[in-house]
């Protein structure tokens, strides 16, 4: 875990420094220069922060779904614990992705929020997380709470591909990679708009944020288990 912890800190610090400090030039000559992406310019730096957090949101949701599914199969409360922790972290990353996206939209499109298909889909994801936690708080019995929320997470997860992959590409939008985007469709890092060094930094950011997720996950799992043990001890003393 120390490797994950220091790895995530080192990688994210590196991305923050390099992503902000490396200059943009029209025709990059060396490794320490980024090309100018038309329509994005300086705002392209958001790729290193916004896209990895959005990616981690989806990953956390998937992990939560998988643990929910495993809980339903085995009825092992440990899986439920992991499912909730992952959902909580996913909610946090989802807020980060929404905020970075809205800030970027303010400078690229002129307003923080304008219901672009991508903004709609991240809004739905926030709603799903909110609904998931309100369902959990509504059920008192632990076993019932675990299985009902697991089922809800999976049912909600079934709709996620629709609004993450189908709707944004079906409807015209302004988000880079959407159907009507001037760069001609397809996510940025598939269409060759990103230079090699940008791509490397992007993947470093992706790994960094994923490590951060793994570290926080392990941390919260440890806290939850310690709390359980303490509750058990108190119970015995009473």
């Amino acid at each position: 875990m120390t490797f994950v912890k220091y790895g995530s800190i080192a990688l994210i610090s590196f991305v923050i420094v390099a992503g902000i400090a490396i200059p943009l030039t029209q025709s990059p000559q060396s490794w320490l220069e980024f090309p100018v992406i038309p329509g994005l310019e300086e705002k392209a730096r958001n790729i290193f922060f916004h896209v990895p957090t959005a990616w981690t949101t989806v990953l956390a949701f998937l992990v939560s779904m998988v643990y929910g599914f495993r809980y339903l199969r085995t009825k092992n409360p440990d899986y439920d614990q992991k499912s909730v922790i992952s959902a909580g972290l996913g909610f946090m990353f989802c807020i980060l992705a929404t905020v970075t996206g809205a800030l970027w939209a303010k400078f690229n499109w002129g307003s923080y929020w304008n219901w672009d298909p991508r903004q709609t889909s991240i809004f739905i994801l926030l709603l799903i997380y909110g609904a998931y936690f309100s369902l959990r708080s509504a059920v008192e019995l632990e076993e019932k709470r675990a299985s009902l929320s697991a089922v809800y997470a999976i049912v909600a997860g079934l709709t996620v591909p629709f609004f993450i992959f189908i709707m944004p590409r079906m409807m015209t939008g302004l988000h880079p990679g959407a159907q009507g985007d001037s760069s001609g469709g397809g996510p940025l890092f598939q269409s060759g708009m990103m230079a090699g060094n940008m791509r490397v930094l992007f993947y470093v950011a992706l790994v960094g944020f994923n490590l951060l997720y793994v570290w926080l996950f392990a941390l919260r799992l440890r806290i939850a288990r310690l709390e359980d043990r303490q509750r058990l001890r108190q119970h015995r003393e009473d």
Partner: protein, 221 residues
């Protein structure tokens, strides 16, 4: 199997016809919602986009008030155990789904009639698109609403959580259906609406298949 599904379905229809609780509530809800929309518009002439949106707003909130009955009523009357004993989860699920589909179609038909009577601008220019949209939309709405109703019936607080849990899941069919309804009002060629239908059909299939597989875990205590 099909006989058993029909048995669950006809049991629900019969008990519904005895009290007409859900039907009356749905009808009153439609009237109330449309009245509120009329008050809000204050004689302003709304275009097809607004009317199509309002149409499904009325359908959504009415459905949210009535569709949870299918499972909640079993819990309230204490008949869940009996149903668990005499029928397999899959047959119960499909019976309830069928009942909810029927309710939703009735509800959409009611909203359509009220809209046609009240809004002169609500003119259906392409009947085939409209009918297919309404049918697939009802299927999509009912397929998601049924599994959420099953979850809600087992959770403590029944009424308030239902729209909260359903809305994020129903956004995809709602947005698609609103799109397609605008097309039917404007009378665009049928091929233009194909995308929406494909999305709706795949949504219904994914939702139903997932619900059948997961229903076991909700239904059994």
């Amino acid at each position: 199997m099909i006989k058993q599904i029909m048995a669950v379905f006809s049991k629900d229809v019969r008990s519904e016809l005895r009290t007409r609780y859900a039907l009356n509530a749905l009808l009153m809800f439609v009237v109330t919602t449309v009245a509120i929309i009329l008050f809000a518009l204050r004689g302003e002439h709304a275009g097809p986009t607004v009317l199509a949106g309002m149409f499904w707003v009325a359908v959504f909130f009415t459905a949210m008030s009535g569709l949870s009955r299918s499972f909640v009523s079993e819990e309230e009357r204490g008949t869940t155990m009996t149903l668990q004993l005499i029928a397999s989860p899959t047959t119960v699920y499909f019976g309830k789904l069928l009942f909810n589909v029927m309710l939703t179609i009735l509800l959409v038909a009611g909203v359509t009639i009220v809209y046609l009577a009240v809004f002169p601008a609500f003119e259906i220019n392409d009947m085939s698109i409209f009918l297919l949209t309404v049918f697939l939309g009802s299927l999509g709405l009912a397929s998601a609403a049924t599994i959420i109703a099953a979850i809600i019936a087992k959770a403590g607080s029944r009424g308030t959580l239902y729209p909260v849990l359903s809305f994020p899941i129903l956004i995809v069919p709602l947005m698609t259906v609103m799109n397609a309804t605008v097309k039917s009002l404007e009378g665009t060629p049928f091929s233009d609406a194909m995308v929406d239908f494909v999305v709706l059909i795949s949504y219904v299939m994914v939702m139903t298949a997932g619900s059948v597989l997961l229903f076991d875990y909700v239904w059994k205590d």
